[in-house]
Symmetry: C2
Subunit: 425 residues, 2 copies
C-alpha cells in the first residue's frame, strides 16, 4: 500500500469515500465491544478457580500456628511475603502485603507522604508545590492519584528502553519540589516496553535535590510474559542499594492479573527502613488485610515456580489476542505512514500512535460505532496528549471474535481520520 | 464484706498480707492468659466456617450478572449493601461497602478530611488546629487515629446513658476547631452502655460552630446482643434528617465480629450527599474491595434475619464468659467500695473502674503474673486516665476455664492495690 503522504488529493478523496462507506456499514451493525480496560477475560479467571477451594475447613484455615480467620497480621502472612519477595527479588522483611489492590497501596503511600512526610521530611501537604515526573504515555490511574492530591505532573518522553533519562536526571537533580516519578518498568502501560539495564542503573544512581524523592516502581507486570522468554529487568532495589540509594524506591505489584482482579493480593516492597516507617503508620490504619485470602493464594500459587507455571496458562489464552491486534495493525496500517506501535513481549496493552491530531476523533468514531476504547488522552497527565496521537488497546477482555472486529474497526477509523486530516491541509 | 474505707489500719495490713500471699502463689503458677483485645474465640470463628464454602465454582462466583472475580464495583455489591442498609436502618444508596476493616474506613475518612476537607470545606491539614471530642473511657484505636493526624483530643465524661451532652453541646457550638466526636453508641467500648433516645436526639440536634463537623458513629456492636432483648438505639441518620442535619454523621460497622475478624466485610453509611462525596474521592484510591468475599457473606448471612439468627449463636458462646466476669466481680468486689462496673447487654467488654490511682499498678501486677489486659490508660486520649482508674476486660478470647482464673486474679490485684493505696494515706 502507498504511504498516504505520497497520494494525490484525488486518490485521497476516493479513499476517504470508500473508508467512510465501510465505516457506515460497520456502524449499522450496532456492535457493542469493549477494549477499554486491562481486564482479564472470563477464561482467564477460570484457570484460578481452584483458589476458591483452597481454604474450606477449620484445619485448612490455619497455617504454621496462625488462625487466618482471626485478627492480626498487619503486613501479611510470612508465607505470602515469601512468594512476593521471591517474585520481586527482595527479602521478606522488605515486603508489606496489602489488601486486594496495589493501586490502593500506591494511593496510601502518596497520602502518607502528603500527611506525614517520608522518614521525617516535611509533609508534602505543607509544601508550596509538589511535583511528580510522569513518563508518557503512562497509566491513567497513576496520574489521577497526583491530580487528586494537587501534585503537579511533568510529562517525560518515553524512549524505546524507558523514560528519557537525560531529562529525568536533570529535573530530579535541579528541582527539590520533584518528589516522585511513576514507572511501570516491565511491559510498560501502555507502551509494552521494558526498561534497559542502563535506564534502571541511571534510576538507581539519581542524585535528587529532594531528600524524600521516591521512585514509584509499579512492577504490575513482573511475571506477565506473553512468550517463553521474558524481557530482562534489573532489580531496582539491588541497584539502588549499590548506589547508596536504597531508600529511594517503592515497589508495587499484585496478583490482580495472576489470580482474580477483584479478589487478589497486593504488595509493596522497598528497603527495610522504608517498610518499617510504613508499617509504623499502618498500625493506626488497620488491624491487617484479609489473611484467609492470602492463605488461599499461598496454597494455590505455592511458590514462584507455581506463579510462573500459572502465568504460562494466562499467556496461552491472551497471546492469540495480542497477535490478532498486532497482525491486524500490521496488515492494515503498516507502510502507509500514519501510525506507529510496538510489539510487546508481555503486559496488558498495545500502544498505538495514530496520525497527529486524530486520536480523539478515532475514539469518538469508534464509540459511535459501539467500540469502547480507553479515552484518548488518558495516557497523559491531565488527559492532555499534546499531539493527540496516543490510543491504548486492551486486548484481553473481548473474545477473539469480538477483538477481530474491534481492531479492524479501529484500523478503519485510524485510516479514515488520517485521510481527512491530510485533506484538511 | 466490709467496705475497705471502714477498716482499721490493722485489719487492712492483715488483709494486705494475706492478699499478697495469695498473689505470690498465683504468680508462681506461671500462667499465660490474654484478656487484652476484643478478639472472638476459636469456637466463635467455627460457627462461620460455612462462609468458606459459599463460593467454590464459576457459577457460584456470579450474582445477578456480576462476575465477582473480576474488576469493578467501587462501593460494593448491591446485595451486600442491602444487608448492611437493613442492619443500619438506612437506604442502600446511603451505604459504601469496604474491605475487611471498618477501622480502615474510619482512618480513611479522617485522612480524606485532612487532605481534601469535607464537601468543599478547608482541608483540615491546612487549619491551625483541629480538635475531636472523645467520650471517655473510649476505644483506643479511635484515639490513635486522632493522635496520628495531630488532632487534639478533648475528653468528655460518659454518663450512664451516653456522653455528657451538656458539655458536648457547649463545646461543639462554641469552638469551630472541633470537627468531630467519636461514638460507640451501642454497647459502648468499653463501658457497654447504649445511648438513650435523649442523647441520640441531642446529638442529631447539635448546632456545631464548624460547618464540617461530623459525628463518627462507630456502630461496631449494632447486632451484638448478649441476650434476647436488645438495647434500643435510635437511628442517628433519621434523627439528623429530622433535625435538618442529615450530613452531620458518618456511620461505621463491619462483620468482623459477625463472621471472621480477619476476613469480614466493613461498611460506612451516611446521607446520600456524604456517600457521593466519599465515592468521588474513592475512585482515585481503588478499583473496589474484594467482591468474592462479599458474595460469600451475601450467601452465608442472607439477610438481616440471617444476621440476627447468627448473632444468637455468638451470644450463646460468649454470654457464659461475660457471666463469669460479672459474677466474679460481684462475688469478689461488691460492697467493699473499691471498684465499679456496669453489666452490659451486648458488645465485647466489661469496663472496670478500680480504686483511684491503682489501674496501672493492677495492670502491672497482672502482667507479672502472666495475665495480659489492655494497657491501663488505653481507654483515654493520649493514654492518660487522669484518675488512673479504668481497666478494660475483654472476656471473649480466653476459654471459660482460663477466664475464671484470670478474672479471679484481676479481682485479687484490684483488692491488693486498693489496700496498699489506702494504707499509704
Amino acid at each position: 500500500m502507498a504511504a498516504y503522504a505520497e497520494m494525490s488529493r484525488e486518490e485521497l478523496t476516493t479513499l476517504r469515500n470508500s473508508l467512510l462507506e465501510e465505516y457506515e456499514s460497520f456502524k449499522a451493525q450496532g456492535l457493542k465491544l469493549d477494549m477499554s480496560r486491562g481486564k482479564p477475560g472470563a477464561d482467564q479467571l477460570d484457570i484460578s478457580n481452584d483458589l476458591l477451594t483452597m481454604v474450606t475447613s477449620i484445619e485448612e484455615s490455619k497455617i504454621n500456628g496462625t488462625d487466618t480467620r482471626n485478627y492480626g497480621g498487619l503486613d501479611g502472612l510470612p508465607e505470602m511475603k515469601k512468594i512476593f519477595a521471591d517474585m520481586l527479588g527482595v527479602d521478606t522483611n522488605e515486603v508489606i502485603v496489602g489488601g486486594n489492590s496495589s493501586l490502593n497501596m500506591m494511593y496510601d503511600t502518596v497520602a502518607r507522604a502528603m500527611l506525614f512526610g517520608i522518614m521525617g521530611s516535611t509533609p508534602w501537604s505543607k509544601l508550596e508545590k509538589v511535583k511528580f515526573l510522569c513518563p508518557v504515555p503512562g497509566y491513567d490511574r497513576h496520574f489521577t492519584i497526583c491530580q487528586t492530591f494537587g501534585i503537579e505532573m511533568i510529562p517525560v518522553e518515553m524512549n524505546a528502553d524507558g523514560p528519557d533519562m537525560d531529562v529525568v536526571e536533570k529535573l530530579v537533580s535541579e528541582d527539590s519540589a520533584i518528589k516522585g516519578i511513576w514507572c511501570v518498568p516491565k511491559y510498560s502501560n501502555p507502551g509494552g516496553i521494558t526498561y534497559s539495564d542502563d535506564v534502571v542503573c541511571r534510576f538507581a544512581n539519581l542524585k535528587p535535590a529532594a531528600e524524600d524523592f521516591r521512585i514509584f516502581w509499579d512492577n504490575a507486570y513482573v511475571v506477565h510474559d506473553l512468550y517463553d522468554v521474558s524481557d530482562p529487568l534489573l532489580n531496582i532495589l539491588d541497584e539502588c542499594r549499590k548506589a547508596g540509594n536504597e531508600d529511594m524506591c517503592y515497589i508495587f505489584a499484585s496478583t490482580s492479573k495472576v489470580t482474580f482482579p477483584g479478589a487478589g493480593v497486593a504488595v509493596m516492597a522497598g528497603s527495610a527502613s522504608n517498610m518499617e516507617a510504613t508499617r509504623k503508620l499502618m498500625t493506626f490504619q488497620t488491624i491487617g488485610p484479609d489473611k484467609v485470602n492470602q492463605l488461599r493464594h499461598i496454597r494455590f500459587l505455592k511458590d514462584l515456580d507455581g506463579v510462573r507455571a500459572h502465568m504460562k496458562k494466562h499467556a496461552a489464552i491472551i497471546r492469540p489476542k495480542f497477535e490478532i491486534v498486532l497482525n491486524t495493525l500490521e496488515k492494515e496500517l503498516a507502510g502507509i505512514g500514519i501510525a506507529e506501535w510496538h510489539k510487546p513481549n508481555g503486559g496488558y496493552f498495545v500502544s498505538l500512535d495514530v496520525y497527529p491530531g486524530c486520536a480523539k476523533k478515532v475514539h469518538a468514531l469508534l464509540k459511535d460505532a459501539g467500540v469502547v476504547m480507553t479515552g484518548a488522552g488518558a495516557t497523559f497527565p491531565y488527559g492532555n496528549d499534546p499531539k493527540d496521537r496516543n490510543l491504548r488497546i486492551a486486548p484481553t477482555f473481548p473474545t477473539v471474535s469480538e477483538l477481530e472486529i474491534a481492531v479492524k474497526m479501529l484500523c478503519l477509523c485510524v485510516k479514515l481520520t488520517a485521510v481527512e486530516k491530510i485533506l484538511e491541509k
